[in-house]
C-alpha cells in the first residue's frame, strides 16, 4: 500500500491558503472527490468532522492527518495540501499546521492504520518534510515521497510504478451476457498488472453497463489498450493508440502476454475509420464467431424489452381476470388499469424486433449500421412492400435477423463504395451520405423481401383452409407447430388468423390448438432452464423464470431471445413441443372462444383439465428436445 499509489496528482494542492481548519477540511475533501474514490461526498465529510470532534488530528510538527473510515469510500485514497503560511488546525502542540494529508479508507480492513503508519514513518524525517514544503510542483512532490518510500521500504522491489498521469496500460473487457467472463478477465488483467509492476485500469462492459470507464485523459496518457471483448465496444476513442483486440477468454488465460505486448510496443496502432472498425479488426476471428458476436449483441439488447413488456401484458390479463371482465377478444383491455398495462407492454414489444435488428446492424457496421438495422427491423414488423407500403404481412423476428445482418453488411459495402468519393466529402459522409444511402438500401431490400412473406402467408392460409376436412389431430399439430416457427412472422400469423377466423365461423377447437401452440415455446424453454441448467448461459438462466409467466399468458415472444440466440436448435424443439400440444388439444376436443389470454382464460376453455395436460405434455416434449439438441454451454465457454 504505497503512498504514491494512493495519492494522485489531481488530489494535491501546493501552496494552499485556507484561513481556518474548516476551510482546510473543505479543500481536502474536494481534492479527495477529484481523486474519484468517494461515492458520497457529504457522508465522507461527516466522517471527517466526526473524527475531528474526538480531538484534532494535527499530530504536531506542523503535520495534520484528518481521516475517516467510511462506507462512502470505494477504495483507499489520499489527498494532500501544503500550507506555507500555516493554518490553525487546533494541534496538540498549538502550533500551526502546514502539511496536511487526508486519508479516505473503506469501512473494512486495516488499510487506514497501515497508511497512517507509512505516513508517520516518512514524515518523522524533518528534512523530508522541508523538501515536501519546498517542492515546486506536484511531480516533484510525488517524486520526493517516492524516493523516501523506496528508502524506508527497500524490499518492495515489485512496487507498482505509476506513469505520470494515471495508468500505463488500459483494458476493456466485455462478453455478450456480461455477467461472469467480463469480470474474470478484468480481475486476471489487474492481477497480472500488479505482478508485472505495471499500472493497469480495466473498464468492464458488463450487463449493468460500463463500469470503471476509461477517461479521455487516461487514454491519452497510456501506453496502449487491451480490448478483450466478445461483443462490440466503443472503439472510436482509441483512435491513434496502440491497441490489441482479442477474445475475452484471452484476458483470462494470457493476461501477462497481453500486457507485455503493450509494454514492448509491439501492438499495432489502431485507426478508427467509422464503421470499418469491426471489419478489419477481428481478422483473426472465424466468420462464424463474428456472426455469433453480432447476433448476441442484438439479442442481449432485445431481452429487456421482452421481459418488461411481457410482464406488463401478463399484469393486464391478471387485472381483467380479477375484475371479472368478459374473456373475449378484448380481454386484457376491459378495465382502464388493464388497458394501461396491455398498451404499454405492447409498445415495449413493438420495439423488440427493431431493437434486435438495430444492434445486430450496429455490431456489424457501427453507428451507421444502427439506423439501417432499426429501420429494417421496423419494416420487418410492418411488412411493408412496394405495392402496400403501409404494411402487409410482418416477417417477425426472422425478418429482423435478416434485416440486421443484411443491413449491416450492406452498410459496410456502401462505405467501401464511398471510399472513391472525393476527400472533400469526408466530413459529410457519416452525417449525411451513409445514413441516406443506408436508409434507401434497407428500404428497397425489405420491401422486396416482404412480399415473399405475404406469399408464404397466403399459401399457408390456403393450405390450412384446404385442410379443414382432413384429420383434426394433424391440423392441430400443424397449427401448433406453425405458431412456434417464427413467433410473430408469416407462419405464426397465418395460424393465428386461421384460429380467429374459425372462432367467427363457430368452431372453437382450432383456436384452442393455436393458443396452446403459442404457449408451449416459452414454457418449454423455462422448464429447460430449470431442469437442464448446463444448456444455458447465466443470463438465459436468470430470465428463464419469466418465461413461465409469459408462456402461461400466451406471450410467445418470451421465447424469441432464446430462439434468436440459437435458432437451429431452439426452434425445432419448440415446434415439436408445440405441435404435440396442438395435436393433443384437438384429440381431446378442447375448445376456446377467446383469441388471447393464456391461463387467464382457461375458465372458458372447454375440457380444460385435458387442455392443461396437453400443455404440460407439449412443454415437457419441447424441454426434452432442447436437452437433446442443445450443447452444454461448458463446451462453448469462450462464446459466453
Amino acid at each position: 500500500m504505497r503512498i504514491i499509489d494512493l495519492l494522485s496528482k489531481q488530489s494535491i494542492t501546493l501552496g494552499a491558503t485556507p484561513k481556518n481548519k474548516s476551510e482546510a477540511i473543505d479543500l481536502l475533501v474536494e481534492l479527495q472527490v477529484k481523486g474519484g474514490k468517494i461515492k458520497d461526498k457529504d457522508m465522507y465529510k461527516k466522517g471527517i468532522l466526526a473524527r475531528e470532534e474526538l480531538g484534532s488530528t494535527a499530530v504536531g510538527d506542523g503535520i495534520a492527518i484528518p481521516h475517516a473510515k467510511s462506507t462512502a469510500v470505494s477504495s483507499p485514497s489520499l489527498a494532500a495540501i501544503t500550507v506555507p503560511n500555516g493554518v490553525d488546525y487546533e494541534a496538540m502542540d498549538d502550533e500551526p499546521s502546514n502539511l496536511l494529508f487526508m486519508i479516505a479508507a473503506p469501512n473494512d480492513g486495516d488499510v487506514h492504520l497501515e497508511v497512517l503508519s507509512r505516513l508517520m514513518t516518512i514524515l518523522m524525517d524533518e528534512e523530508f518534510r522541508l523538501n515536501l514544503m519546498n517542492a515546486k510542483d506536484k511531480d516533484t512532490f510525488l517524486k520526493i515521497i517516492d524516493n523516501k518510500e523506496k528508502e524506508k521500504y527497500p524490499d518492495e522491489t515489485t512496487a507498482v510504478k505509476k506513469s505520470d498521469s494515471g495508468y500505463k496500460v488500459l483494458a476493456v473487457t466485455a462478453c455478450p451476457t456480461g455477467i461472469a467472463h467480463t469480470y474474470m478477465a478484468a480481475e486476471a488483467l489487474e492481477k497480472s498488472g500488479k505482478k508485472l509492476g505495471i499500472t493497469i485500469k480495466v473498464e468492464t462492459n458488463g450487463s449493468g453497463g460500463a463500469k470503471n470507464v476509461l477517461t479521455k485523459e487516461e487514454i491519452k496518457n497510456c501506453d496502449g489498450i487491451i480490448v478483450a471483448a466478445d461483443k462490440t465496444v466503443e472503439m472510436s476513442r482509441f483512435d491513434g493508440k496502440k491497441v490489441i483486440r482479442t477474445k475475452v477468454s484471452d484476458g483470462i488465460k494470457i493476461p501477462d502476454e497481453l500486457i507485455k505486448k503493450i509494454e514492448s510496443g509491439d501492438a499495432p496502432v489502431y485507426h478508427h475509420e467509422g464503421a470499418k472498425a469491426s471489419d478489419d479488426s477481428s481478422s483473426d476471428e472465424s466468420f462464424g464467431r463474428k456472426l455469433y458476436k453480432h447476433l448476441m449483441n442484438g439479442v442481449s439488447n432485445m431481452l429487456p424489452f421482452t421481459v418488461a413488456g411481457g410482464i406488463f401484458i401478463a399484469i393486464a390479463f391478471l387485472i381483467d381476470t380479477i375484475s371479472g371482465a368478459p374473456q373475449d377478444s378484448g380481454f386484457g383491455t376491459h378495465t382502464a388499469a388493464a388497458a394501461f398495462f396491455k398498451s404499454i407492454g405492447g409498445y415495449a414489444f413493438s420495439f423488440m424486433i427493431p431493437v434486435l435488428a438495430a444492434y445486430i446492424g450496429k455490431s456489424i457496421a457501427d453507428r451507421p449500421g444502427f439506423l439501417v438495422g432499426l429501420v429494417g427491423g421496423y419494416l420487418a414488423t410492418t411488412g411493408s412492400t412496394f405495392a402496400k407500403i403501409s404494411g402487409d404481412i410482418p416477417s417477425g423476428f426472422l425478418g429482423a435477423l435478416f434485416a440486421g445482418f443484411v443491413g449491416g453488411f450492406v452498410m459496410l459495402m456502401i462505405e467501401k463504395l464511398c471510399d472513391r468519393m472525393p476527400k472533400a466529402l469526408n466530413g459529410i459522409k457519416p452525417v449525411l451520405i451513409y445514413p441516406l444511402a443506408g436508409l434507401g438500401a434497407i428500404a428497397i431490400i425489405m420491401c422486396a423481401v416482404n412480399p415473399f412473406m405475404g406469399m408464404i402467408n397466403t399459401g399457408l392460409s390456403n393450405f390450412l383452409n384446404d385442410m379443414g376436412g382432413s384429420s383434426k389431430i394433424i391440423l392441430g399439430c400443424i397449427l401448433g407447430g406453425m405458431m412456434s416457427i417464427d413467433m410473430g412472422g408469416p407462419f405464426n400469423k397465418a395460424a393465428y388468423v386461421f384460429g380467429t377466423a374459425a372462432i367467427a365461423s363457430g368452431s372453437y377447437d382450432i383456436m384452442a390448438a393455436v393458443m396452446i401452440g403459442g404457449m408451449v415455446p416459452p414454457i418449454a424453454i423455462a422448464l429447460s432452464t430449470t431442469f437442464f441448467k448446463s444448456r444455458w448461459t447465466e443470463e438465459e438462466k436468470k430470465n428463464g423464470a419469466v418465461n413461465y409467466l409469459m408462456g402461461l399468458s400466451f406471450i410467445t415472444e418470451g421465447a424469441i431471445p432464446y430462439a434468436a440466440a440459437d435458432p437451429l436448435r431452439v426452434i425445432p424443439s419448440c415446434i415439436v413441443g408445440a405441435a404435440t400440444a396442438g395435436g393433443l388439444s384437438m384429440a381431446f376436443n378442447c375448445t376456446l372462444m377467446a383469441p388471447h389470454g393464456g391461463i387467464f382464460v382457461f375458465a372458458v376453455v372447454g375440457n380444460w383439465p385435458l387442455y392443461l395436460l396437453s400443455l404440460a405434455v407439449g412443454s415437457v416434449v419441447g424441454m426434452l428436445m432442447l436437452a437433446v439438441l442443445k450443447k452444454k454451454v461448458k463446451a462453448t465457454t469462450d462464446k459466453t
Binding site: 480531538g55 499530530v59 496538540m92 486495516d110 492504520l113 497501515e114 497512517l116 503508519s117 508517520m120 518523522m124
Partner: protein
Amino acid sequence: MVSKTVKVINAQGLHMRPAGVFAKAMAAHKDCKVTLNANGKSVNGKAVMQLMAACIKYGCTVEIACDGEDEQAVLDEAAAMFESGFGE
C-alpha cells in the same frame, strides 16, 4: 527497568486517537522513559508519530518497558490503558 507484555484488544488498533491519548499520558512522567517494542520495532511511547508509525494493529503483542522514576507505577498505568482498550 521494568517491562510487561500486553495485547492490543481494541479493534481499530493503536490508531491516532489512542496513540495520542497514550503519548500524552506517558509524557506526564517526565523522568521515566517509556519504550514500546512491537512488530520488531522499538519506539518512544511519548511520541505520537512514532507510535503510529509502528503500525500496532488489533491482536498485536506489545512489550512496554519503563525506565526511571516511579517506573512500576508508570508501567501499570500504561498496561492498564492497553488492557482497557483505550476506552474503545
